[in-house]
Symmetry: C2
Subunit: 354 residues, 2 copies
């Protein structure tokens, strides 16, 4: 009797650990970039266009999680929607370098294994997030750059496109304006944009009218997710800076800076002034504050984004999720495209500060 | 009377903070790579050759610090000696990629300002560490890659060399052996080396005899320093992996992984299996353990290198220094070229575990 009692007790105690069900905790959070995004420089049409794509991306990742997919698969599905949309500075819609090219970066990290993958400076890969996942899953490496990364993508059967696929008129005009101003900038600057006359709106809005290029904007997309197995993942994808020179690499493909995930703490994807985010090791710092100082997700995220980064002059924001399904979306810029969806399907999409 | 008393007291209290003299604390630590470096696969000639260059590098950086130079200048001077020596896998002496090229990475970080600079995948820059410093000091960016980084280096008056400058017969033979084995490896593997017959030693040893290519070796060079102003700096430079493919980038140019410096905590340079070091954000993790958990330098370094990395299968080591002049040089591989020098000129150069 006593023996079976102990056995039953052991089973009862063991169950929550070995087969804990996270299906009521699945959560997905996304961002579509932070920066000078205010109601003043937005139109109802643009806002509607952005919210529509963000909602499709959110639902896509949620669908993956609901069907029992992994957090990595959900992050990929969500980011691909934003990469395929010309509205965001990632994949199609990426900004132009000083040489008139579109150079893309992306990264992924899996919280269960601490495995990671990243690519930088690629010009022919349609969905950089998928290639970053291939680097993580199919190679012994974490990071690949340039032509070498493109060769790997091709060998892995990733979709290769002509560089012209990434051309959008709105982004090209942004480059021309930036060049005219003879300076490198992040997407571009609010002041000069105010000088550019807006084309009169006649009839149906064309694509250019819908792409938000006003204001300083750190255009990067990202997603973090918690799946029903209790595993976290984080991914980030970007086209970098308008008019960027010298093969500049920002924080998006840097594990620890733009992307980090660890089941013991949280999953984080960042968007902002990449140089500051690299120097502050932003994504991992949030995890370290939770692990070493015992802070909760929100406090850790605020400490880094609203305090450390602000003191250091680093503009931008992050999205994060922990294993309990808590989320955080702090940003110190004027706006950040962001949204989340919970296991019950409750979702919200936000753009401005208040 | 009372007023001047307060003033004197204020001055006395303020002095140690505003003009604290660190000249009795100046410290410099260097490494020349970690891996399967054992007495069994070393010869007295090789050991002597390595120790000679390490000592020159140590004295060079020490001279800079003694003359009142900054920690960044000392790190640069020390690393340039190792980059210019064919014995180390950095600068001249870099290993070959699968395509028969030498692709170099380097990074620097300054503890006072948290500024940083890095370059990746360059083939024509003689001293990558100097260009990484130029990125930090002369550009708004932290990281540049490939042709873009080379263009920047040229504009900054950095010494440009023909890619053939980086050719060394020993490294090229290592590539041929690696290719013959049809696998990507880190420098190369102990087992196959044992099959290679050693050439009979006749008269003066030639360069090839002196270059240590036996055993798995994570050839990277690095240096950390504390200057008389109390400022820390860390730098790392590497040629990556023998037979590396796909534009692979390791931890050396990744701020937070291979290099990190913060006056509030420590300066760290890493050498090892780069993929593991990126995923574990090694250099910043040591800083975070000091900042958030209050660990001392040695404990923090051991926690990451001897515990976390060992559990995760990540082979290698780090060197570190804090603002008190404490140093740490833990490694979990069989050997690591390493050395330090203190303000009184006391120095030590070590290779093996015991």
């Amino acid at each position: 009797m006593k023996k079976s009692y102990i056995l039953a007790l052991t089973l009862l105690t063991a169950l929550p650990v070995s087969a804990q069900d996270y299906s009521d905790k699945i959560t997905l959070v996304l961002h579509g970039g932070a920066g000078t995004i205010t109601r003043d420089n937005m139109t109802p049409e643009k806002e509607k266009a952005y919210k529509e794509v963000l909602n499709i991306a959110l639902q896509k990742g949620y669908g993956v999680l609901k069907k029992g997919g992994t957090s990595v698969q959900a992050v990929e599905a969500t980011i691909r929607v934003m990469e395929d949309s010309p509205l965001f500075n990632a994949g199609k819609g990426a900004v132009f370098t000083n040489e008139g090219k579109n150079e893309l970066d992306a990264s992924i990290m899996e919280g269960k294994t601490l495995k990671a993958g990243a690519i930088a400076g690629v010009t022919t890969i349609r969905n950089p997030i998928s290639t970053a996942i291939a680097v993580m899953e199919k190679s012994p490496h974490v990071m690949m750059a340039g032509k070498g990364a493109e060769k790997f993508a091709k060998e892995q059967g990733q979709e290769i496109v002509d560089p012209s696929y990434f051309y959008t008129e709105a982004r090209y005009k942004a480059l021309e304006r930036a060049k005219a101003e003879e300076k490198t900038e992040l997407d571009h600057d609010a002041k000069e944009e105010q000088k550019v006359k807006k084309a009169p709106k006649t009839g149906q809005a064309n694509l250019e009218d819908l792409i938000f290029t006003e204001g300083k904007k750190f255009g990067t997309v990202g997603c973090v997710a918690l799946d029903q197995f209790g595993n976290l993942a984080a991914g980030t994808s970007t086209g970098g800076m308008t008019n960027k020179k010298y093969g500049r690499i920002g924080d998006a493909p840097i594990i620890g800076a733009g992307t980090y995930a660890n089941n013991a703490t949280c999953a984080v994807s960042a968007t902002g002034h990449g140089e500051f985010f690299i120097r502050s090791v932003v994504a991992y710092d949030i995890s370290a504050l939770m692990e070493y100082k015992g802070l909760g997700l929100q406090d850790a995220a605020n400490e880094v984004v609203m305090k450390k980064l602000v003191e250091r002059g680093g503009e931008g924001g992050i999205i994060a999720v922990d294993r309990k399904g808590n989320i955080a979306m702090p940003f110190n810029s004027e706006g950040m495209y962001r949204g989340y969806i919970k296991s019950d399907g409750k979702s919200e999409i936000l753009i401005y500060k208040d």
